[in-house]
């Protein structure tokens, strides 16, 4: 990439990029930790997710400020403009992913009050896939790689179908034995949160494609 004539502009853009990567790293860890807290029935660990999310919120505000500062000071154009507006949007998705990880952590703490339900391997698979999608979307962003971003968008179908299987599995558990209902219902929420995490990763991927190619691929058919 060619450098800006004003070098401090490049430094400011790098700083923004690094902040987003740090934020992305945080939410990835949150997903991993929250799932470990759930499977290992570790409420202490679940609490740490809630603590980590405060960092995420702080960083979200910092990133917003950095973007606003760049907009007003630089009046960015072309790829710089697309990068900064993308940053403003994906920071929202990343922060929401953090919130969803916290929601899962809260469910984990709640579930740990009762004896364990039988293990649900599809749930861990869904969590892995969700985390991989977030990672891949962030990689696509860092590398400005639209092909990688397209792959993330495609893979969301996998996540959706895994989620639907899981819903059926959990419903079956509830019908089997009414004593399962409360816990299976909590796991349904966990699954729903993971599915939403995948959706946010898809949003990030769509914005990456806009950032690189300058074409908005969201909501086909909604533009004149």
């Amino acid at each position: 990439m060619k450098a800006h004539t004003d070098k401090t502009y490049d430094l400011q853009l790098d700083d923004l990029r690094n902040k987003l990567l740090t934020l992305g790293g945080y939410v990835e860890t949150e997903i991993a930790t929250t799932m470990r807290a759930l499977t290992e029935r570790d409420s202490k660990l679940a609490e740490t997710v809630i603590g980590q999310d405060r960092e995420v919120n702080r960083l979200e505000i910092e990133i917003d400020e950095a973007c606003r500062r760049l907009l007003v000071l630089r009046q960015p154009a072309a790829s710089d403009l697309r990068f900064i507006t993308t940053a403003l949007k994906i920071v929202v998705d990343l922060e929401r992913i953090g919130d969803l990880a916290v929601n899962i952590a809260e469910r984990a703490i709640d579930l740990n009050q009762s004896p364990p339900l039988k293990p649900i391997p599809d749930l861990s698979r869904l969590a892995d896939l969700g985390q991989r999608q977030v990672r891949a979307a962030l990689d696509a962003f860092v590398e400005a790689d639209p092909d990688k971003a397209e792959q993330v968008i495609k893979n969301d179908d996998l996540l959706d179908s895994l989620y639907h299987n899981l819903v059926n599995e959990l419903l079956a558990l509830m019908m089997e034995d009414p004593r399962n209902i409360r816990r299976a219902n909590s796991l349904l929420f966990v699954a729903k949160h993971l599915e939403r995490i995948g959706d946010h990763a898809t949003n990030v991927a769509e914005m990456v494609i806009y950032m690189v190619r300058g074409t908005d691929i969201r909501h086909p058919g909604s533009r004149k």
Binding site: K2, A3, H4, Q75, A77, A78, R82, G214
Partner: protein
């Protein structure tokens, strides 16, 4: 629809200096074209070719065609003085007539073209359009050089508007203006678009983005890219345009 201005393979020289290289573009009627590009890339030369001012420079020559309303500017029956009334110009450096009053500066073009009319009313209208009226209404009989640089620039805009041109060429019209006068001029440009066609040269990228429908990027005498303004500033096709609008030159 026939374009208001059509430029075909335009080349311009100052003696051996090839200042414009094979430029072709069209400007539809009632639109604003912004010309951007680094200093010395040929922006002023380009607009000066659009009303035959370029040929007035000693040693200057040109090839190619410029058409207004489909008519070649160099067709035999085109009278350059009448042409410059139809295709008016605001110059990069404010150039009021120093020996004339403010009032006479505004009506100078009308007199030159032998236009009769209600001069005081026309002067007020033109000065209002140029966002200068309130500052000069009590001193219309004073010399134009008693005005500040920014006021002189607006006086020249008023002078250009007074003759009621069809095409207005503006070379850096807001370079010496404060933000308020600049905003008024930009509002004026948007308003004028209803009745005329404008080509504006500007170094202020945000100004180009705000006032124009299409933008042309010149570099070293060449037209590198011409497209809808929004596209040029959000997603230019040429890497040289991208470098220029993002500030990556030199």
């Amino acid at each position: 629809m026939r374009p208001k201005v059509e430029v075909r393979s335009l080349n311009a020289w100052f003696k051996a200096n090839h200042a414009l290289r094979n430029v072709s573009l069209t400007v539809p009627a009632n639109t604003v074209l912004a010309i951007i590009g680094p200093s010395g890339c040929g922006k002023t030369t380009f607009v000066r070719c659009l009303n035959r001012m370029h040929e007035l420079v000693p040693g200057a020559c040109q090839s190619g065609n410029v058409l207004v309303d489909g008519q070649d500017l160099h067709a035999r029956r085109v009278d350059p003085v009448n042409l410059r009334r139809r295709v008016g110009m605001v110059f990069q450096r404010a150039n009021p007539f120093p020996t004339m009053t403010i009032f006479d500066n505004v009506v100078a073009g009308l007199k030159l073209n032998g236009v009769r009319g209600d001069y005081p009313a026309l002067v007020e209208k033109s000065l209002r359009q140029a966002a200068l009226w309130d500052e000069v209404k009590d001193r219309l009989r004073q010399s134009a050089v008693s005005l500040s640089g920014g006021q002189q620039q607006r006086l020249c805009i008023a002078r250009a508007l007074a003759v009621d041109p069809e095409v207005l060429l503006m070379d850096e019209p807001a370079s010496a203006l404060d933000p308020i006068a600049t905003a008024r001029i930009e509002e004026l440009i948007r308003g004028l678009r209803e009745s005329l066609t404008i080509v504006i040269v500007t170094h202020n990228m945000q100004q180009a983005a705000r006032v124009s429908d299409s933008t042309a990027f010149f570099y070293m005498g060449e037209l590198i890219e011409h497209g809808p303004t929004e596209q040029i500033f959000t997603n230019p096709r040429e890497s040289r345009t991208e470098d220029y609008v993002t500030g990556k030159f030199g």
